[in-house]
């Protein structure tokens, strides 16, 4: 097993702050020489996960924990917020035909994260939401 490289961030709610996490992942990936397509997909997962987490992070001190653990075999992404949580089972799968002409065209984040990852886990409760994603590189 190759030795994993880890990068941890605790992000405040500031515009575009998710790009800092994405840039961090890029540096790890570049160092390990990972394939651009897989890394690009992982970056899109991070954009979705961190955007959601920042939107729902709560209290006086909204903050989002992001952790990457990367080897040449896989990228693990951990994103945790301190919001009020939600019931993932209650979220409907979006369909484009349903979104066209609908007032809100949003609701794609979870579907995109699931579709782009090899393993997607979500834990949500009154203390916040944690998503844990694995993306295999081969």
């Amino acid at each position: 097993m190759p030795e994993p490289i880890a990068l941890h961030l605790l992000l405040p709610r500031v515009p575009d702050i998710e790009l800092v996490a994405i840039e961090g992942l890029e540096k790890l990936a570049h160092h390990l020489g990972l394939a651009a397509q897989k890394v690009g997909e992982a970056k899109l997962i991070v954009a979705e996960a961190v955007t959601n987490a920042l939107e729902h992070a709560g209290g006086d001190r909204p903050s989002v924990r992001v952790e990457f653990t990367v080897t040449t075999d896989e990228i693990c992404i951990f994103v945790q917020d301190n919001g009020n949580g939600f019931d993932p089972a209650g979220v409907q799968d979006p369909e484009l035909t349903g979104k066209l002409h609908a007032p809100s065209k949003r609701g794609w984040g979870l579907k995109i994260m699931k579709s782009l990852s090899d393993d997607f886990r979500i834990e949500s409760g009154a203390q916040g939401t944690t998503i844990i994603i694995r993306k295999l590189l081969s």
Binding site: P15, D16, E18, L19, I22, E23, E26, A36, Q37, G40, E41, K43, L44, A47, E48, T51, P94, E95, L96, T97, K99, L100, H101, S104, K105, R106, W108, G109, K111, I112, S115, L116
Partner: protein, 124 residues
């Protein structure tokens, strides 16, 4: 690093060509939709969206593109994406966008498609 969002636009042959640079989130998506509205008001009904320099986008940004698609459909025009980076292309496919919107390698290809359709519509 994927820099702050910006866009350039240009009308050609009844199409507006929008070229984006950098991260497309809600702010970038809203800017694209606003730019399109201006051109629609001026009589344009086809949109060519060159996302080649936007390697990171989020789904909130893309929800504004659904709005653009909706408007293009109402006008009887077309939305065509060009120069897509692999991961962004995969994301748009997951959203089902290519069922209703086109996808071409380059802006020139997209212009050719729009010109051909204009001819076809003229024949009918």
């Amino acid at each position: 690093m994927d820099q702050v969002f910006s866009l350039q636009s240009e009308a050609r042959d009844g199409c507006v060509i929008i070229t984006t640079m950098g991260y497309i989130n809600n702010v970038g998506g809203e800017a694209i939709a606003a730019e399109c509205r201006t051109y629609f008001a001026g009589g344009v009904k086809n949109v060519i969206l060159n996302l080649g320099q936007s390697k990171v986008v989020n789904s909130i940004g893309m929800s504004y593109i659904i709005e653009v698609l909706e408007q293009v459909q109402e006008l009887g025009g077309r939305l065509v994406f060009t120069n897509l980076d692999g991961p962004v292309e995969k994301m748009l496919a997951i959203m089902g966008l290519f069922t209703f919107a086109g996808k071409e390698a380059t802006v020139a290809d997209a212009l050719a498609v729009c010109a051909r359709e204009a001819v076809d519509q003229g024949r009918k």
